[in-house]
């Protein structure tokens, strides 16, 4: 059984001009200990998918249909109180801004100790020792002294390390990391990613890594899911998706990333922009920008089908080709 299954989930934001579907029927699953990269442009629905897993979709948004299952048990319909327990114990969350995960009025130590006492049933002394170990583990110098400091006394990179410790200390089986390094400088990014990857490997923790940065995916993820306009367009092993992408959107995306050493005078660009959520077209959402669009691409929406090392939703592949 997969650790996490998303079964055709639809996330909707009701507005007075009718509901907006931010995620339009998305299915994927994640094995234990696996790192899945979820990429897409802003507005593609990747962060909302992450929020759907953790039950943190901001009201009035809601999961209109579909199921989120953790080890086979539905978690999308749980009451908030139960979901909060799962969020601490089973699913950890890391956000772009470390300050959203840290409470400014408690010391870093208090937050770690509290989490472990609640979720692991440690007594105070044991929890404190574990908290010191965790800070050392995430590479914070002088962990014993730093334990009694407040979040604002840490630098940006150090804060994100604390957040990682906090997310991992209850020994969850799954971490949802939403743009965990976007706010950090490049030289610190690499440290944080390496840390996250190592710890999750050691503890067998699975990760859904939500990001817009293909570079981050390339060096961290095992599999990649590419989202476009609320749908999955391609999913597969990281090597295949990065080096031999199948979907024309993924190809365009990869080609448009500037690369050191490339001597082309112009960057490859995808013309136009991702369509808005309102008035979705009947066909493939990428068709208007697609260099290989065929006539039926504009009228018939492609369903995901097996291709490469995973699936791709495109008429160029499978029997409709």
């Amino acid at each position: 059984m997969s650790l996490l299954e998303l079964d055709n989930i639809v996330v909707e934001f009701p507005t007075r001009r009718g509901p907006l579907e931010a995620v339009k029927g998305l299915s994927l699953d994640l094995d234990e200990g696996e790192i899945l990269g979820l990429v897409g442009e802003s507005g593609a629905g990747k962060s909302i998918t992450g929020a759907a897993i953790t039950g943190l979709i901001e009201p009035p948004g809601l999961i209109r249909s579909g199921e989120v299952r953790l080890r086979g048990a539905r978690i999308d319909n749980l009451p908030p109180e139960k979901m909060r327990r799962i969020r601490g114990k089973e699913i950890g969350a890391i956000f772009q801004d470390p300050l959203t995960s840290l409470n400014p009025v408690y010391t870093v130590g208090e937050q770690l100790i509290d989490t472990m006492r609640v979720h692991l049933g440690f007594d105070h002394k044991a929890a404190r020792q574990r908290a010191i170990d965790w800070l050392a583990e995430v590479g914070i110098p002088a962990p014993e002294a730093r334990l009694d400091q407040y979040p604002h006394q840490f630098s940006g990179g150090m804060r994100q390390r604390v957040v990682i410790a906090l997310a991992l200390c209850a020994e969850p089986k799954l971490i949802i990391a939403d743009e965990p390094t976007t706010a950090l400088d490049v030289s610190v990014q690499a440290q944080i990613l390496a840390l996250l990857k190592r710890l999750c490997r050691e503890n067998g923790t699975a990760v859904v890594l939500v990001t817009h940065d293909m570079g981050v995916i390339a060096e961290t993820a095992d599999r990649v899911a590419v989202m476009y306009a609320g749908r999955l367009v391609e999913i597969g092993d990281v090597k295949q998706v990065i080096e031999e992408p199948l979907h024309p959107y993924t190809r365009g995306l990869m080609a448009s990333i500037p690369q050191i050493g490339n001597r082309d005078r112009r960057l490859t660009q995808i013309e136009g922009a991702m369509p808005g959520l309102r008035n979705p077209a009947p066909g493939c959402a990428f068709a208007p920008r697609c260099p290989r669009a065929m006539e039926h691409c504009h009228s018939l929406r492609p369903a995901p089908q097996d291709a490469g090392t995973g699936q791709v939703a495109c008429h160029l592949y499978g029997e409709t080709a």
Partner: protein, 345 residues
């Protein structure tokens, strides 16, 4: 530093510094006996911008690169040093003054959501400099010019009636570019113009900027934290760390054989789009607090090559064999190890 300006440089910056007083208010300082706190955002830097080329400034957040842009535009007044544009000293000129000179240099800002007044229509946003600098006299002239500019940046004339919130991030950055082009500037200062955009949109904007540069023969000062973008845009490159230029020179030389450990660190941390085997080397440490920078070479706490000289004496920007300059004792003393070529051609 030689004070003379080569005739093919459009802008010349000599030894400028900018210190910000970030002390608490007077009363708190006296009552709590706190010392004044001075942040040196830009520390004695000099560079020349060649005409028709792109001079890129790269560095991490807090290195002073955005402050440099604002000093050049007159949004901040330098604490020391001189800025010359086409030979005229503009060091202490307020922004927009003198108009006949300032209209020849324009700026594009980082945040496409904050750089356009949300309550103004596009026509008024782009029309503002047209009126201020007296480029267009009548309303009809303004409308015609705005529509022409919109089509030059890939938008349509009907967009003139819209408000900024009706556009996507990439389109807003096109609006910013259109506004900067109103005065037909010769120098365009771009402060991280694509860092808020998605990659597929980033390539559109970068291509547009290159096309416009060719069409109007503009010089660019291109500020970025992204080395891959800089590789694509720059002719000349300056690397900044904690308010100082640590390495400056022709782009090719710096990318092929960086002569400062910090430049090397930045290059090593560029994410590579190949899977397996080429993970970024995690580098120790973070940028120190610029209010109390380390003594000597400010990079020494993170530098694997640091010795006692590095910890006590600030290095000078010296010319290297490759043609670039770098400020590094290790390079001076020949302790800098050979650099393994980074990118496959």
């Amino acid at each position: 530093m030689t004070p003379q300006i080569a005739p093919d440089d459009i802008l010349s910056v000599q030894n400028i510094s900018k210190r910000f007083d970030v002390s608490e208010p007077f009363l708190n300082r006296v009552l709590e006996r706190r010392p004044r706190r001075i942040l040196t955002a830009v520390n004695d830097i000099s560079f020349d911008v060649p005409r028709g080329k792109t001079f890129a400034v790269v560095g991490e957040s807090g290195c002073g690169k955005s402050t440099v842009a604002r000093l050049l535009m007159g949004l901040h007044t330098p604490s020391a040093g001189a800025i010359r544009f086409e030979g005229t000293d503009i060091t202490h000129m307020p922004p927009g003054n003198p108009p006949e000179l300032r209209r020849r240099m324009q700026m594009i800002f980082q945040d496409p959501y904050a750089s356009l007044n949300p309550r103004w229509r596009v026509r008024d946003i782009i029309g503002e400099p047209l009126k201020n600098f007296g480029i267009c006299k009548t309303r009809a002239e303004v409308t015609r010019e705005v529509e022409k500019l919109l089509s030059q940046v890939g938008l349509i004339p009907a967009d003139a009636k819209k408000f900024p919130h009706e556009f996507s991030g990439g389109q807003r950055q096109r609006l910013s570019i259109a506004r900067a082009l109103t005065t037909r500037p010769e120098l365009l200062i771009c402060d991280e113009p694509t860092s808020a955009l998605d990659v597929s949109v980033q390539s559109q904007i970068l291509n547009l900027m290159k096309d416009l540069q060719d069409e109007f023969n503009m010089s660019y000062i291109f500020i970025s934290h992204d080395l891959a973008v800089v590789w694509y845009m720059a002719d000349v490159l300056a690397v900044m760390y904690l308010g100082k230029i640590v390495e400056v020179g022709p782009k090719e030389q710096i990318f092929e054989n960086p002569q400062h450990p910090y430049t090397r660190l930045l290059m090593e941390t560029v994410p590579k789009l190949t899977v397996g085997g080429t993970e970024r080397a995690p580098v120790a440490g973070e940028v120190p607090n610029p209010i109390s920078p380390p003594p000597g070479c400010s990079f020494h706490p993170r530098c694997p090559l640091a010795n006692d000289t590095c910890r006590s004496v600030a290095p000078a920007l010296n010319l290297r064999a490759g043609g670039q300059k770098s400020a590094c004792h290790a390079a001076d003393e020949g302790r800098l190890p050979a650099w393994l070529r980074l990118a496959a051609e």
